[in-house]
């Protein structure tokens, strides 16, 4: 028992685990979420719901009149702060915990790889991050899923929409990244 305890402590203080171990555990976590919450692991629905509730709070008439709310009521999925929102909060704290336990915190404004290609400007990186993240979320909601919701949860359910989405999304992302960092060498991670 004592030795097992030490092994556990050793494992959580490591900066990285094998991707196959991590992938297997995420797969098992998806069994857990289907079995206990009747939900697939996904991130972006919570953002959509939080945004909808923000609209409704800012413009009270909107919840009555805007077609979004009518459509979601008809689907039986009105915006709510629920399991999915707390999943997002949990991901933040889980990563924080893992990074703390292994001393792998990176309080970076500009990733070194970005800096080598686009310069050290903090504002350039942050405005690019803000805009690209907004576009990414917009796309995820158009398609009703992201790397988690479609890429992992949808693919493992053998959903046609998910395999279609993740193939095209990664294809476009690969072309974009190859073009952006063309001529750059292999980066030390």
């Amino acid at each position: 028992m004592h030795q097992q305890g030490e092994k556990m402590i050793d494992a959580v203080s490591q900066k990285s685990w094998s991707p196959y171990v991590v992938g297997s555990l995420i797969g098992i976590l998806s069994w857990f979420s289907f079995a206990t919450a009747d939900k697939p692991l996904g991130i972006t629905t919570a953002f959509e719901h939080a945004a909808a509730l923000t609209w409704a709070a800012a413009i009270p008439d909107m919840a009555e009149q805007h077609p979004y709310f009518a459509a979601k009521r008809a689907e039986g999925k009105p915006p709510i702060i629920g399991w999915e929102a707390m999943l997002v909060v949990g991901v933040f704290f889980g990563a924080l915990l893992s990074a703390r336990l292994s001393g792998d915190q990176n309080r970076l404004w500009v990733p070194p790889m970005w800096e080598r290609r686009f310069g050290p400007s903090k504002w350039k990186r942050l405005s690019a991050a803000f805009l690209s993240a907004a576009l990414m979320m917009f796309g995820a909601r158009l398609a009703q899923g992201c790397t988690s919701g479609h890429g992992i949860s949808g693919s493992l359910q053998l959903a046609v929409s998910s395999w279609l989405f993740i193939s095209i999304a990664f294809g476009v992302a690969i072309l974009t990244a190859l073009a952006m960092y063309r001529g750059q060498g292999v980066q030390d991670v």
Binding site: L29, W31, T44, M86, L87, F130, S132, L158, V160
Partner: protein, 194 residues
């Protein structure tokens, strides 16, 4: 507006484990995501591939014993295609996907944290523009909530075994490549650049 406290707690606990795993898997890092997209670091594919294979076995087993139900997103062709293009460009520039940007923020990365505000803004835009987006989302066709086993009239286990075999083959190739790389002496420092 709120789900029950036990649902909230369950979500939080599931999320903590998910975030912990993403950070340990190194996918909360800008460089790991971008180098995957440049096809130079295969961490993301290894994690996702393993999660899909392992996940599919358990989830379909749970469905078979009636302990879970599938949650399939519809193939609204315009929404899926248009969404995938926006998502792909956004992810490449951002250097994180939605889940890994939250994990990246937990790791302390400030650009990921700013991205969370961007993602919220993107969601505000989506909800606000929802009515005018409907022709794009639904205009190209709606194939419904379909899976490959349904479409082909085959057993899901055929697909799951196929995926698992492809995964095991990829794992074997990966291991062999790693094995062939490692015994080679490091000569980088002594060799002149040509």
């Amino acid at each position: 507006m709120f789900e029950s406290p036990d649902r909230l707690l369950l979500g939080l606990a599931t999320g903590v484990v998910f975030g912990f795993l993403l950070q340990k898997g190194r996918v909360a890092k800008f460089e790991v995501i971008v180098e995957q997209l440049r096809l130079r670091d295969w961490t993301v594919v290894r994690i996702m591939g393993t999660a899909v294979v392992v996940g599919s076995i358990g989830v379909y087993a749970l469905v078979a014993i009636d302990e879970a139900s599938l949650h399939i997103r519809p193939v609204l062709l315009g929404g899926v295609l248009g969404g995938a293009v926006c998502f792909g460009v956004g992810m490449a520039v951002f250097g994180y996907c939605p889940g890994t940007s939250i994990a990246g923020s937990g790791e302390g990365r400030r650009d990921a944290l700013v991205g969370l505000a961007g993602m919220f803004t993107g969601a505000l835009g989506f909800v606000g523009a929802f009515p005018s987006l409907q022709p794009l989302i639904k205009g190209m066709g709606d194939w419904g909530r379909i899976t490959f086993p349904e479409v082909t009239g085959t057993s899901p286990w055929l697909w799951i075994v196929g995926l698992a075999m492809a995964g095991i083959a990829a794992f074997a190739v990966d291991r062999r490549a790693a094995h062939q790389r490692s015994p080679r002496p490091k000569r980088l420092s002594t060799e002149p650049h040509s």
